[in-house]
């Protein structure tokens, strides 16, 4: 971490030149402090603006499912249903994306032809370059119609599993479709982290495994996966953070309802981010403030998840040294 730190080689200062130095250093330091201030400002302004509606709320904000902040005298709203939908959508997305992402990372690092590897890596990165609104448009305009017969078949043959109970939605605008699109969106994030950490596996460990006669898969099992575990977990948590906060794919695909429902093939559920995007243009009075309160909850959840991810990655890096 400290290999390229400049301060050790700082020139001996001589009186006159210091004005420029002081000004420039102050400017650089100021930008750093400004970033910290912006981050603090995000939290502070959200709290300040959320407070009026939270104070006027007659229902318990954390356990209520309804969203009626504009009823005169007794506004009642809560994030229970929204938080459930957010976590459910992100969890399914992660469940779908993580195994595939690990496979892709292994493919790029160990299986792909050397010359093609970086090109194929770029192609996975391209998935991250596509704007979320385009994913949303693709999801509603192309993917959902394709999934209708699939969902009907799932409801017919897998309906005995509570998650897939029918009748399946005839438009496929369900939480499962939204999660599939979210999974595609977080795929490049998890892949990038896993790829980096797989690449750092000590050459010695890998060659030792191969020299003992291990097949490529046994080498990966013995040397790569144990080494890369923390990186993969960290990457998955970063992906989770992204999936929790993703707005457009859900807002455009899901046909929402403020309920807590485990029926993945039926319309219903809603996420915090999508709810904010859909409600904001029509929100007035306490409505805006209530949406800011919901945003505060989302901010808190993603903050915890992201800090956890960074912690896991940092600890993994330390252990591997």
């Amino acid at each position: 971490m400290t290999t390229t730190d400049a301060p050790e080689t700082a020139p001996p200062s001589s009186g006159k030149r210091r004005i420029g130095d002081v000004a420039f250093a102050g400017l650089a330091r100021g930008s750093g402090i400004l970033i910290l201030l912006i981050l603090a400002g995000v939290a502070a302004f959200l709290i300040v603006q959320a407070w009026p509606s939270l104070a006027a709320n007659t229902a318990n904000f954390l356990t209520t499912m309804a969203w009626e902040p504009n009823v005169r005298e007794d506004p009642a709203f809560g994030v229970a249903a929204l938080a459930f939908g957010t976590v459910l959508a992100a969890a399914i997305a992660l469940l779908l994306a993580t195994p595939v992402a690990i496979g892709i990372a292994l493919f790029i690092v160990f299986y792909a032809p050397r010359r093609l590897a970086s090109l194929l890596g770029y192609m996975v990165d391209l998935l991250a370059a596509i704007p979320s609104v385009v994913y949303g448009l693709w999801g509603i305009g192309f993917l959902a119609p394709q999934l209708v017969p699939v969902y009907q078949a799932m409801a017919r043959y897998l309906g005995w599993i509570p998650l897939f109970s029918g009748p399946a939605s005839t438009s496929a605008r369900t939480i499962l479709t939204a999660s599939v699109v979210l999974a595609v969106m977080v795929l490049p994030i998890i892949t990038a982290m896993s790829r980096d950490v797989f690449r750092q596996t000590p050459q010695g460990h890998r060659e030792a495994a191969l020299a003992m006669g291990a097949t490529r898969w046994e080498m990966i099992q013995l040397a790569v996966l144990p080494f890369g575990k923390s990186g993969v977990i960290g990457g998955a948590m970063l992906g989770l953070g992204r999936a929790l906060g993703e707005t457009m794919a859900v807002a455009m695909i899901l046909s929402p309802a403020l309920v807590v429902s485990w029926d993945l093939l039926q319309s219903g559920n809603q996420t915090i981010a999508a709810h904010i995007a859909l409600q904001y243009p029509e929100a007035t009075g306490y409505g805006v403030s209530a949406l800011i309160a919901a945003g505060l909850v989302l901010f808190a959840i993603t903050l915890v998840v992201n800090m956890g991810a960074r912690y896991v990655v940092a600890r993994g890096n330390k252990e591997s040294r």
Binding site: D5, L126, V134, P281, T302
Partner: protein
């Protein structure tokens, strides 16, 4: 040589016979490719015979047939461990192909649907005076808005981001450095809609409720862009060889002149790449702009501080919300425009990074 040396340290149940023959059979090297080709041909033939050919079905059935035959053959000839290895190899290849499926599908659907309406007319007129269901109008006002908002966001975040990176690499030490790096990482994870809400809250405090303009959108995008610029610039500045700095110091050049005349020019190409990738990332942001720049502007507005400002992502979103066939056509065309811009930035950035990278390593 004793046979025990070839035992893998974690023997599985499918290990095969305990007497391992070191010269056991191997499948020919061309076997996988040949098998794959023949599977594809046979499956295609069968599907055509039943006249139910579909690319997805064909791909899936070919993959299944290949995996089953390859693994069985390998288990017969080469033993359980090799068979497992081949199974994993096929799965890993399939994971990659599975990821390419949505990429190809998104690009293909956006291209084919977008070409229906993307022409000079679409790019050069606004929606002013056009009813949503009329067969007219275009995205010029949205392009103007995207350029203005993204431009202002870039102007705000590049100086702050690059200077913070300079601070992190050249000045900061100890706790302050760790704290700042940690919070920049945390900031990367702020959901875009929360950045939008932040500006909404800020604007309510500064100007009172109901003020929507392009500048608000630009600030929301800057909040998302700054950490990306910091991280990429920081990486680039670290690549500048220490020798260059020391040589400058040895000539008596003050530190700030060293940074502005030696360090920053050396890493200019890398910095540009990072900034362009950051622009490509925020140019497609929708959620914060729905909250800050408004969803209903129809006319051309170059003024960031005066009223609602349409932009390409929000244009796509609001057209989809209207829901008519013509609205979807506009949305696809705008999506194609947006994707072309993003791809252009993406490839240009990679090219600059590749061509002008410092030959430091």
């Amino acid at each position: 040589m004793s046979t025990t040396t070839t035992q893998p340290p974690a023997p599985g149940p499918g290990m095969g016979s305990p007497r391992i023959n070191l010269r056991s059979g191997t499948l020919p090297r061309r076997f996988p490719a040949a098998l794959l080709a023949s599977c594809a041909a046979v499956v295609a033939g069968v599907l055509l015979a039943f006249s139910s050919f579909g690319f997805l079905l064909w791909g899936v059935l070919t993959a299944v047939a290949y995996v089953v035959i390859a693994v069985t053959a390998s288990a017969r000839v080469e033993g359980g461990r090799k068979a497992k290895d081949r199974l994993v190899t096929s799965i890993v290849y399939m994971c990659f192909l599975l990821a390419m499926l949505p990429l190809a599908s998104v690009l293909w659907t956006v291209f084919t649907n977008g070409m229906n309406r993307l022409d000079i007319y679409f790019l050069s007129v606004s929606m002013n005076g056009v009813l949503p269901s009329m067969d007219a109008g275009g995205a010029y006002h949205a392009i103007v808005g995207t350029l203005a908002i993204t431009g202002m966001a870039t102007l705000i975040s590049v100086p702050i981001g690059v200077m913070t990176a300079v601070y992190l690499v050249e000045y900061a030490q100890g706790r302050m450095k760790q704290l700042l790096m940690f919070f920049v990482d945390v900031m990367t994870g702020i959901p875009s809609i929360v950045a939008g809400l932040f500006v909404v809250a800020l604007w309510m405090v500064l100007f009172g409720p109901g003020h929507t303009n392009g500048a608000a959108g630009a600030i929301a995008l800057a909040v998302l862009m700054i950490p990306v610029v910091v991280r990429s610039s920081e990486e680039m500045l670290r690549l500048v060889p220490q020798d260059l700095r020391e040589a400058a110091y040895a000539l008596g050049v003050p530190r700030w002149r060293t940074i502005t005349k030696v360090v920053l020019p050396t890493s200019a190409a890398g910095l540009t790449t990072g900034i362009m990738l950051a622009i490509a990332r925020v140019i497609g942001e929708t959620a914060p702009l729905i909250l800050t720049a408004g969803t209903s502007a129809v006319s051309i507005n170059w003024n960031l501080f005066d009223g609602q400002m349409m932009n390409l992502p929000v244009f796509i979103y609001s057209q989809v919300r209207m829901g008519g066939a013509i609205n979807y056509e506009r949305a696809w065309a705008a999506a194609l425009t947006l994707i072309l811009v993003v791809m252009l930035l993406f490839f240009l950035a990679r090219m600059i990074g590749g061509l002008f990278a410092p030959k430091a390593r």
